[in-house]
């Protein structure tokens, strides 16, 4: 072993100290290299990450595009809205803050529960809604106390506004907060921004892309604890595009008001272009309250109503058209080469095989030609023609006039009925077409089903012989539609027949226009929704007034004016009206809405007089009804409340579809029955 001495130790120390120094220097090189790597080669990446840390982006919901009528009058616009939200990360004294808000804003226990669940789910700076649509007083109260309530955010935003309220509910639809599924699907952070509403039904839903616009954004510098340091940049929102409809807001509102308390619909078309001037389904729901988030009480009231306010009857209601198809059938008869002067003797009943088909006139109309048959709505004339020609000779004309046709309108759900013929029945029921089927169909009963829009299209196409297609979006100037190629002589004859219904002592005399020089042409209709047994017939058919609402006949009307050069066509369908109220019946309603098109002041004057008796406009009546319903609910509070769907909106669509389904059996009941029209 080598002898270790002081000297050798010193020598080994120097070597080892140098070795250590070398090792330390190499660590220093590693450090310098790492520094360089981070700050030079990865600089861009880390710069971006630092920016991501520093800058927080908050979205502001875009102002939704307006929906305006053909004259630019708003049907849906935005009004200033005061709202209060919570920023979870900035919330310091959660319980105290919530208690203060509850007291200031009058939050219900329901609200508090919702806020609690939302807060649990929320992350970071994603605001949680406390309450929107606040009045200025409450908003100001919160505003004043903001400094002592960290995490509370009071903002001024926009909320959807529908000036015509329930009158445009079914036409426009409504908006609402995006659902959790919608957010999951799109991952768009805008979806969970408080105050953001998207279309949930109607045009609001189908035109969503045009109406939505682009969200505004605010870049703010925030600390790690979420404290706002300063605003960096603000990008204003780009409002959605304005959508112009063919609707005439004045007419739309007038129609809605004129429908009174009926469960009914009115469609008014431009006979030349197909522009939809009014499309009303009443009673409606107020889209304003739907857009704010409908209350359970209101929801209960709407869903329990037998007038189905949640269904758009214009597009989803299917009815046996009844006698309103007679002018169209007359056109088919003309096209089959039969003279309008050919007569049929009406004795009140027609025997087909072993069954007797009755006319609505028990005594019979005697000898009737085409004009008299239409004017008096004689069933026997059309029974005979159908028995002679077969319904297969009628069906092409019926389809040409728009029945059974699906129109491309911006709505998610439409029902478009049935135009039966032998081929259809063979395919659907595997049964041969019978003469009785033809006879039933000839007066718009049996298998025939149509929606109110199709009836309006039928009236408009017959009036001018043009292949009009209903259009709702006014993009550019609409040219008159091309001709259907119908013999002008035939059109003239049909117009003459329909003129006689109103002005020639026919069934629609009450629809005569109070304007000199303008005469209305039209056709009344009644669709039966129940079977009349022979026993009931022999003891006298029950009067509608003595029947429960759901069993009363539907009342229908189609018309156009001026009769000799038609400009406007309309259809009116009143569910289960049964012609029991002469003031709200279809003929006077048709008179008033057509009067409105030519002389607004006169029409308004008569409406004002009527509304005094009805208890105000539909908005006023809806408000009274809600109040009464709430009072009744409060009174019935002792009894356990029926289960209420948690998601009012989902339930709403359920009920709508149920209601729509329910209409089919109603029509089917009518379809199974014969005769009895007018």
């Amino acid at each position: 072993m080598l002898k270790v001495t002081e000297a050798s130790q010193t020598y080994s120390f120097s070597r080892r100290a140098l070795l250590m120094g070398g090792a330390q220097a190499s660590i220093a090189l590693v450090l310098a290299g790492r520094m360089t790597w981070l700050s030079v080669f990865e600089n861009e990446r880390y710069k971006m990450m630092a920016e991501d840390n520093r800058v927080s982006l908050t979205l502001s919901p875009p102002r939704r595009g307006w929906i305006v009528d053909r004259n630019g009058q708003p049907l849906a616009n935005n009004r200033t809205d005061f709202r209060v939200d919570l920023i979870p990360d900035r919330l310091e004294k959660r319980e105290e803050t919530l208690a203060a808000l509850q007291q200031m804003l009058g939050l219900t226990p329901e609200d508090m529960a919702r806020i609690a669940t939302d807060l649990k789910r929320a992350q970071g700076f994603q605001p949680v809604q406390v309450k929107e649509s606040l009045d200025w007083e409450r908003y100001a109260m919160v505003l004043v106390r903001l400094p002592e309530l960290p995490g509370v955010q009071a903002t001024q935003g926009f909320t959807r506004n529908y000036p015509l309220g329930a009158g445009v509910g079914h036409l426009i639809g409504y908006v609402g907060a995006a659902s959790a599924e919608q957010y999951k699907e799109s991952k768009d952070p805008l979806m969970v921004t408080p105050g953001f509403k998207m279309g949930k039904d109607g045009l609001e839903k189908t035109l969503e892309n045009r109406l939505r616009g682009t969200a505004g954004a605010k870049r703010v510098e925030v600390t790690a604890r979420g404290k706002l340091v300063r605003e960096l940049a603000t990008r204003p929102d780009v409002p959605g595009k304005t959508v112009k409809l063919t609707i005439d807001a004045g007419l739309q509102e007038y129609c809605a008001r004129r429908l009174a308390d009926n469960s009914g619909s009115i469609v008014v078309l431009d006979c030349l272009t197909g522009d939809v001037l009014a499309m009303v389904s009443m009673p409606g729901y107020d889209p304003n309250s739907f857009s704010d988030g409908i209350s359970q009480t209101e929801w209960k009231m709407l869903s329990g109503d037998d007038h189905v306010p949640l269904m758009n009857k214009v597009l989803q209601g299917l009815y046996p058209p009844g006698s309103t198809v007679k002018p169209m059938h007359a056109l088919a008869v003309l096209r089959a080469g039969i003279s309008p002067n050919a007569t049929v003797n009406c004795t009140g009943a027609l025997q087909v095989g072993r069954r007797a088909f009755h006319c609505h006139s028990r005594r019979g109309h005697g000898a009737v030609n085409m004009e008299r048959a239409v004017a008096q709505s004689c069933d026997i004339y059309f029974y005979s023609m159908a028995r002679e020609l077969g319904y297969d000779a009628f069906a092409p004309t019926v389809r040409e006039m728009g029945l059974g046709q699906r129109f491309d309108l911006p709505y998610t759900s439409q029902r478009f009925g049935t135009v039966p013929d032998s081929a259809w029945k063979e395919k659907k029921y595997k049964q041969p077409w019978t003469i009785a089927d033809s006879v039933n169909a000839s007066i718009g009963q049996g298998y025939v089903l149509a929606n109110p829009l199709q009836l309006a299209v039928m009236a408009a196409r017959m009036a001018q012989g043009r292949a009009i297609v209903p259009r709702l979006l006014l993009d550019g100037v609409h040219e008159p539609a091309p001709s259907l190629g119908i013999d002008p002589q035939h059109i003239q004859t049909v117009r003459q027949c329909m003129w006689a219904v109103i002005n020639g002592g026919g069934t629609g005399g009450k629809a005569r226009l109070p304007i000199s020089g303008i005469e209305l042409a039209g056709k009344t209709g009644t669709a039966q929704v129940r079977a009349i047994t022979s026993a009931e017939r022999s003891s006298g058919v029950l009067k509608n007034a003595s029947l429960p609402f759901k069993l009363r006949d539907h009342a229908l009307f189609v018309c156009f004016a001026p009769w000799d050069n038609p400009r406007y066509a309309a259809s009116i369908v009143l569910e289960h009206h049964g012609h029991v109220n002469p003031v709200t019946d279809v003929a006077p309603t048709a008179r008033d809405i057509m009067t409105f098109l030519f002389d607004r002041e006169k029409a308004m004057a008569s409406l004002h007089a009527l509304e005094k008796g009805w208890g105000g406009t539909y908005s006023e009546r809806l408000a009274q009804k809600s109040e009464a319903f709430k009072a009744a609910q409060a009174a019935a509070k002792a009894a356990p409340p029926p289960p209420v769907p948690e998601d009012a909106e989902a339930a709403a669509s359920n009920v709508v579809s149920e209601a729509a389904n329910a209409t089919v059996p109603v029509g089917d009941v009518a379809g199974r029955n014969e005769d009895r029209a007018e």
Binding site: M1, V4, F13, V30, L31, A32, S39, Y46, K47, A224
Partner: protein
């Protein structure tokens, strides 16, 4: 006592290593600037008190430089004994109070004995190998007393638990052992044994939070909001600074509180965000120069104690600064070792100044002997 040296400067002043003193002063003041910025452009709460302490300790280091080397050599073992007792006292206090405690409250200051142990362990080992006859160095008797002297305080500190300080005590002590001339094969074997022991230590010795830090160090992105957050945010601060930094008072990571502990353990990141790579290289160069000076002092020292102490204290300063920088840049686990002269905190400052003062004292001794 004082003699007039060449020129007009009094000898005691002329004897001071002025270049190094100025360097320490410069780095210390730079540290104050960093703390000023970390407080969002304010002297309070850090820069002012740190500055006061800095000058007190700076004065203390100069005072220590006047202490003769022999005093250190003779006082070493008693000092070691006192500090070991203090460590035990801290443990006992902690046990009584029902929690972990690292300091003794002496009324005027809170003394952290584990911190004092860092320089003292170096002196102790140097003293031990000075006393040990040269012929014994390759024998077992050179090994086990050293292991006990290091192991006792390290174990006590580990119990606190303070992994970073324990590691530094072991590191400094082993460094002196290495320099003392113990056969190299022991170090190679020991190194291999340690490598083998790491998994065992990680699994059985470390506390949960310490183990977690080690695991997160392996993959910081696995836990971006938890323990890995420190490392990620620190790397972002350094990386986003670029070559010249974002400019004084312009750091966002530190000012907006994304960087945790931006004034203590992660002060380097705070500094580099604003001063960039240039600031970082300055710190590396400054410490490199300081440690290099320490090694040169050890080379010049005439006694074995002086040699081992100077090199050992340089190693302590090296461990301090390099472990902190490795940690801040994501190359080492977060163990809680501050950067001397930059990080806020009195204990690190004090330890550094003690090391510095003793280094200067050995330097002075060697020069005096040279002249005589």
């Amino acid at each position: 006592m004082s003699r007039i040296g060449p020129g007009m400067v009094p000898a005691p002043l002329a004897q001071l290593p002025w270049k190094v003193l100025l360097l320490v002063l410069a780095v210390g003041c730079f540290g104050l600037v960093v703390l000023y910025s970390a407080a969002g452009g304010s002297l309070y709460p850090w820069a002012y008190s740190q500055g006061l302490r800095f000058f007190v300790f700076f004065g203390m280091a100069i005072a220590l430089s006047r202490v003769p080397e022999r005093f250190w050599a003779h006082g070493t073992f008693p000092m070691y004994g006192v500090i070991l007792l203090m460590l035990l006292g801290v443990e006992a206090l902690g046990a009584v109070a029902g929690g972990s405690q690292r300091w003794l409250d002496l009324g005027i200051i809170r003394l952290q004995p584990s911190e004092l142990m860092k320089p003292i362990i170096v002196l102790t080992m140097a003293r031990f190998y000075e006393i040990l006859p040269a012929s014994e160095i390759r024998k077992f008797g050179a090994l086990w007393p050293a292991a006990v002297l290091i192991g006792l305080p390290a174990a006590l500190v580990m119990l606190q638990p303070d992994l970073g300080t324990a590691l530094m005590i072991v590191g400094s002590g082993v460094a002196v052992m290495f320099l003392s001339g113990i056969p190299l094969r022991l170090f190679i074997g020991g190194g291999l044994a340690m490598a083998a022991a790491i998994p065992l230590v990680v699994n059985f010795v470390l506390h949960d939070y310490q183990r977690n830090r080690v695991l997160v160090f392996m993959s910081p992105e696995s836990d971006p909001l938890g323990t890995g957050y420190h490392i990620s945010q620190s790397k972002i601060a350094i990386g986003s600074g670029g070559i010249f930094g974002k400019g004084f008072l312009n750091g966002t990571q530190s000012h907006l509180d994304y960087l945790p502990e931006g004034h203590t353990d992660f002060a380097l990141a705070t500094m580099m965000e604003e001063w960039g790579l240039m600031g970082g290289l300055f710190i590396i160069l400054a410490f490199g120069f300081l440690i290099g000076w320490g090694i040169s002092v050890s080379m010049r020292a005439k006694t074995r104690f002086g040699r081992l102490t100077a090199a050992g204290l340089s190693a302590t300063i090296f461990f301090y600064s390099s472990i902190n920088m490795l940690m801040v840049m994501g190359l080492a686990p977060v163990v809680g070792i501050p950067l001397p002269l930059i990080s806020f905190g009195g204990t690190a400052q004090m330890t550094f100044m003690i090391c510095f003062g003793i280094l200067m004292s050995i330097d002075r001794e060697s020069r005096r002997k040279q002249r005589w």
